[in-house]
């Protein structure tokens, strides 16, 4: 099973481990992640304005190059997944945006949202299947109480992201069980960590992260896992009261598969 892979800029720098462990685990799971030859930064935030075309082009270029090789596009970072999937939705449903983007890009064949955007976790759930994954685990994370931290971009808005039940998701908890850990369900796992607001209103990010970490600790989680480099940074640096170690979920996956 071969998929086109869109790593995203941060996974080439600050979040190298997220990407590295993902590739190693994929190999063991029989998945070939073929990085797109020439991808550009997705812009990290989805342009909510309907009249903005330029900020959508990089995502469409990535989608088109996946379509050219007739493969699904796998993403790993929550922000890239959010932006590319919503732009893809625009290209499928919004005639005005589709026409303007296609006119600008002058592709030989109009792009109408054909490519499927699949997050790495969806790959584990729907393509490989968590039961299959459990079979491939060689050192399960026995006794580790792991809190899944979804953040906002993977789940919302659910009508477009269609990732999981936005208020009561189960995909990461199932993932944790598959790699042998004990999932800890705490109510703030789908609340926002503050994201980019860290740059201009640090105390707001701290307030958000503190309540998230406090809630996880109250449910006696030992650690948190996330798929987003910015959530990783905020939960790590901007939680000023209690502290919890935060890992990329692929790191735990790699450890469980014995390829760390």
């Amino acid at each position: 099973m071969i998929f086109s892979y869109y790593p995203g800029c941060t996974l080439k720098t600050k979040a190298k481990e997220l990407d590295e462990y993902a590739r190693k685990s994929a190999k063991v799971l029989g998945i070939t992640l073929e990085e797109l030859p020439d991808w550009q930064c997705c812009g990290a935030v989805y342009p909510l304005a309907q009249d903005e075309i330029a900020t959508r082009l990089s995502s469409v270029r990535a989608l088109v190059s996946a379509k050219d090789v007739d493969r699904d596009l796998v993403t790993l970072c929550s922000a890239c997944h959010h932006v590319i999937k919503r732009v893809n939705h625009d290209m499928e449903t919004n005639e005005d945006i589709r026409t303007k983007v296609n006119n600008y890009l002058e592709l030989d064949e109009d792009y109408r949202g054909e490519t499927n955007v699949v997050h790495y976790l969806e790959l584990l759930r729907d393509v490989i299947g968590f039961d299959e994954l459990r079979k491939k685990v060689i050192n399960p994370l026995k006794g580790k109480k792991i809190g899944a931290y979804y953040g906002c971009l993977l789940l919302r808005p659910s009508k477009t992201m269609e990732f999981d039940n936005p208020e009561n998701p189960t995909i990461m908890e199932d993932f944790i069980r598959a790699i042998g850990g004990d999932p800890v369900i705490y109510p703030y796992r789908n609340e926002c960590c503050g994201g980019y607001i860290a740059l201009n209103k640090k105390e707001l990010t701290q307030e958000r992260c503190n309540s998230i970490v406090a809630s996880a600790i109250e449910k006696d989680a030992d650690m948190l896992i996330t798929a987003c480099p910015l959530c990783m940074y905020n939960l790590d640096i901007n939680s000023t009261e209690q502290k919890l170690p935060v890992y990329y979920f692929t790191e735990l996956l790699a450890e469980a598969l014995g390829v760390k």
Partner: protein, 661 residues
Amino acid sequence: MQKIGVFVCWCGSNIAATVDVKAVVDAVSHEPGVVYATDYQYMCSEGGQSQIRQAIKDFGLTGIVVCSCSPRMHESTFRKTAISAGLNPYMVEIANIREQCSWIHKDREDATEKAIILARTAVAKLNLNRPLTPGESPVVKRALVIGGGIAGIQSALDIAEAGYEVDIVEKSPTIGGKMAQLDKTFPTLDCAACILTPKMVDAASNENINLYTYSEVEDVSGFVGNFTVKIRKKARSINADICSGCGVCTEKCPSRKAKDEFNMGLSNRGAIYIPFAQAIPNVPVIDREQCIKFKTGKCGLCEMNCPAGAIDFKQQDELVERQYGAIIVATGFKPISLENFDEFSYSQCPDVITSLELERIMNAAGPTKGKLLRPSDNTPPRTMVFVQCVGSRDTSGCGKTYCSKICCMYTAKHAMLIKEKYPDIDVHVFYIDVRTPGKNFDEFYRRAVEEYGVNYIKGMVGKVAERNGKLLVQGSDLLADDQIIIEADMVVLATAIEPDESARNLATMLTASIDTNDFFTEAHPKLRPVESPTAGVYLSGVCQGPKDIPETVAQASAAAAKVIGLLAKDKLRSNPCVASSNEMLCNGCSTCENVCPYGAISYVSKEIRSAGKMEVRRVAEVNEAICQGCGACTVVCPSGAMDLKGFTNKQIMAEVDAICR
């Protein structure tokens, strides 16, 4: 040649405002066959109708065309007028120049021109009308009520009171429906069981009423006056005749894992159980998924301990077929599923409950024996938060677009009852608008606020998060323009209600129309609110739309009155617009017989004189009592032998020609 009178109605200004009525009269008076044309402000009024009667006499009219509102409104009125003037009622045609012309076209010239064409079309059709006399069909003097809640029980009692036999079919093991689960009812705060159980006992003891509990309707055929219904009596595995209802078996049953549906799953029940103490019939039922005997063949404790020997594991479903003159739908409602509303953590925290679950918790026969305790740790709550409109007034696709109507009243009731019994509990209610219209309803809500100090907050809850055993209810307080977090012990969600899941498939069986929310559609909201457009099918209770108990009982009695009106007749005038076959043209090819949904066509061999000699031919024959006049047979008949009275091929062709001229 016909002598036709055309009567163009102004309908006050509804038609006259955009249609030049005089021009229509003038244009239509030149049509072939028209000998008299006039207009009047209110054709359907006594004045208008007497004008018609007078014209029929003065001009010896053989047919009348009334250009007015939809035939679905006043066709029967003008047919009665014709009868009273000695004219055959089926020599009347209506041109719909209100709903389908004056109300939807702004431009006066366009509207007038269209009205003239519609009038001309009606005249063209009338020219080919022939007098028809309605056939008669027998009325089975028995009614069927589907659903054994308060709506079904009330309808059945009223019909039985009038001396007619009634069957109630209820799919759960006991009648009583949702009302039996309630603690108190608004606005009088009297206890639900006190007003319901006497009616249940009356229904059980009334010799005109037969109860089919733990049974479902499986098939409906036939039509008004003569429905044939197949009822599946599901196997209770208990012989109801010899069971005394002592309940020993329910105590002895070792399988305790099943969730008690009556207590909304807040407590468990045995595999053999009686839903609640005052259940009617007071006979247990065995849940075959939970019963160890059925699953593994071992156990059978209930059988051993039953003094009357009423347990019968071999009992099978029974199919009963009965005839009915009328059917009342009283299938009731259920709360919607809250899987799309987990921002309130309903599926993650046991202390977040729905209002119906709160009814069970506060009910003396409930899981907590009437004491208000938190389901998580059975401790009395200190702070309670009610959240209104959960799933109602929601156009986002997760919930229902309509207002469920009863939540504001029952939340005020809950708040008042709690403050009455436990004055020191803080009760907060997040609301968008409090809707308590009608007699004594607003006063009831204001008593909760002014006398009992319930804190109503204009705003909505954004998230409920559990922390240290407490529920952090984060919501907005719009008047204070503030975001508040209340540490609550219990959160009660006023959940939207939707029709029972049996509604959609029942509607298909009854060919009754049903809307996109699965509520049965009434024939006309004002003119015929308790009848379905399908003749012989009546609507009672929430199956027709959200309503509270007072309205349900009122509608139940109204539906019963309609049924009594129908059953009082010995004969029903059946629709005369039915198919008829011309034996000279019939090939006897059975194609029509294959498409008739009612099996109204049969074949006989007949002596027919054709081309001078007599020969025996196989020809079709239509049973006019069974035929409902859909016309499927007329189109599959190549030779045109089969035609539909009232909508003959020639009439429709004439209408097409009149429109396209």
